[in-house]
Symmetry: C2
Subunit: 110 residues, 2 copies
Amino acid sequence: MEKDILEIEAGVFNALAHPMRLMILEKLRDGACCVCKIIPYVGGEQSNVSHHLAILRNASIVRSEKHGLEVWYEVVNPRIFKLIDIVDDCIVENLSKSKDILRILAKERK
Amino acid sequence: MEKDILEIEAGVFNALAHPMRLMILEKLRDGACCVCKIIPYVGGEQSNVSHHLAILRNASIVRSEKHGLEVWYEVVNPRIFKLIDIVDDCIVENLSKSKDILRILAKERK
DNA sequence: TCCATATATGATTATATCTAAATATTGTCA
DNA sequence: TGACAATATTTAGATATAATCATATATGGA
């Protein structure tokens, strides 16, 4: 039971573990968006973008809706952005720490 | 430049995208812990656990320290738990929505 | 120094994922 | 109905990842 939850969690993280999919989500920060806008934004093959959209959809991170010929995607739960923001913060923190260390090392070498 | 950040972000999510690694992090919620305690907790081969620890370490999610024969691991930034908690919440939300839908469908079928 | 213990690393195999190209599906309009 | 546009799905080859087994390294003690 507990193990099932971990598998689902891992699935969500896995869906987020690709630069193109993160880029798609950035595009969706401002709200729902047509695939025809997403493709030029992320700059990839149509089939490849579609593939990654399907992965996000299967992980229940986004949902899609048809409007005539177009398909619009939107984020199911905006809290997903909180996740990305936290990771972003942590990365910036780590980077600035590394920078400090480099600076100290540089001084010591003088 | 922007693309580099997305790659690093994806790397962090990727490190979290495995049930055993999430389980290791659960074990580390209470603080630093010896590998010898982690192995029985997650219930896997020693070398396999060690591999997964290395993946978490390479992603700067955990760090290790030797104490005699033992190696102790701890989470670098406890905010990582916030990530897991948010995903957990979202999953629970989704599941309860699905449950509601199933209930409605069941009623309609009567 | 030699041995036992704790952990890490490397090699191998099976499996999953990526990209890109081709093909299929669906909706619109003439 | 037929042709076209937007998107999805399938497929194949290349690449990456996971689990396992065998081996290596480091430490503390006899």
